[in-house]
Amino acid sequence: MFRKVLIANRGEIAVRIIRALRELEIPSVAIFSEADRVSLHVQMADEAVCIGPAPSTESYLCGDRILEAAQKTGATAIHPGYGFLSENAAFARNCERAGVKFIGPSWLAIEQMGSKTSARRIAAEAGAPIVPGTEKGLASVDEGRAVAETIGYPVLLKAAAGGGGKGMRRVDAEADLESAFQAASSEAERAFGSGEVYIEKLIERPRHIEIQVLGDEHGHLIHLGERECSIQRRHQKVVEECPSPLIALQPHLRHQMGQAALKIARAVHYSNAGTLEFLCDQQGQFYFLEMNTRLQVEHPVTEWVTGLDLVHWQIRIAAGERLTVLQEDVHWHGSALECRIYAEDPQNNYLPSPGGIAEYIEPSGPGVRVDAGAFPGWTVPMEYDPLLAKLSVWASDRPMAIERMRRAIEEYRVLGISTNLQLFGQILRNAQFRSGNLDTGFLEKLEWTPEASDNQVRAAAVLAAARHSPQPSAQASGAAPQSAWRTQARKDLLR
């Protein structure tokens, strides 16, 4: 087993990995940027090394400095977490060259799965379903017309060089193809400097369902079932769950998707933990999208239902141990949900909300797990991802998991910054969510119904507030903007 492990990450995932290391009795080394000097992962690790200033490009993305920190502290392995350098094949290769074990798949597998086109080709060759369409840019409208004919309308035109919806057009019938092609192409040209456009079958009301795989370095590979992650905002997952309500209706899907995932992973001799993302239509037809060659944010959901500790296994597998769990040993019990608590305002276009946390109270009790990077008194830095914590719950079935999550969300308190805590009350009480009839457009369509508060609730709020500031000062009386203007930027709010 490793003598010492460095965690090349920050926030909740660094804390998660430190906990696993502590359970395995392996000393941990945190790295931190100047903005993270007192962050939770620094407090919890056995050792900590500063690797640069706040911007990630000068700290968490500097592979060389991280390897230096590993060598300085005598760490013999690096856990990359997710994001940052976790899917950087060059970094994984540099670790190998430096004799430091990268806790993840081989750098070659990362590279092969790193490009969406390459991953798509590998998947197709392995016999897994992919979204029908062209893999490269269309030479002409006529080529597009021919492909659309084969795969059937509606189709989607997409910019080959870009993302984020720019240069994207939905086409419902052949008559609209030509004008849509011109529009998409010129928009792509303006946005990305290349007018190349490709075509794909459009999946209506798609669901995002992914398969967790786990393999050792001796060729044994299993899948741990699915997670449904259809509740997203701006392609960022917000709520995840297992079982997928779709798979609860069509149990054979878990096996089918699992087998498809294994085929693809085997094609790159995948080892360690990985996730294959699929787009699923409402009938259960699924298409491979891409592979995340690292630990997934939402892994706790799978840990709850399978009882397997993914981070323990990642470390043990990287140390050369055999994965002793056979496919037939994997069972799925009950139902798990995860909510991602972000420092952002869901009622204001999900605007990020860094700043000082005045009060921070986590839920607890039966069936509740919190993986957090936040704590009372912490100033959430503005430089990084707004994920504060992941709240996950388990119960014997989905309806009870939803009630438990509601109860846990109702216990959560974060004062001082805005969070999306109130959003979950909306989701969890939503009839469509409760029915399990999900798609990735759910959040966009969600109508916000504020909870009613009665007179006694308001009186309690006001009485406590009055006690809190018995003599309202001029400042507390809603000072005219001019005076605020004159006061210097309240930089201390922002560290």
Binding site: P352, R458, A460, V462
Partner: protein, 169 residues
Amino acid sequence: MKLRVQFDEDSYVLEFRSSGSNSPCAYTLTGAEAHSGEASVIQVRPDLYSVLAGTRSFAVYVAPRGSQLEVWVEHQRYLLALSDARDFAASGRGASAKGRSQISTQMPGKVIRILVETGAQVKAGQGLIIVEAMKMQNELKAPRDGTVSKIATVEGATVAANQPLVIIE
């Protein structure tokens, strides 16, 4: 004691009498909805109060949030502004001068680009400043046509929520 309370969108006047810090106090809330009753309010720790109103029990958290108070009752969050009831007339409403618009950022962050110069003519909807936080960029736009009379920040500066950055006249 008599206080004016701005409670999210609604205004109230709260009147209360307490015979001691830990004994129940009688209160009257007038405004959007009128209500009176008696409650025991105990401070549990600096930012936490336990309120018993009749048999109903509330744990109330209070923390300052800019010029307001952030108050959580149960799992619901409110923004309150308290002021002496006599200040009501004085504090008024539309304190910002007519014909003058202040543009401020709701999101604390770093100014990554300033798109206009002092003296420039701008149209409503035109981008003025881009602020970035947590990898998300937010473009502040002119609320109306006018002239940029002041830019109160520089590129690279760190700005707080609600900090005014540009004035258009």
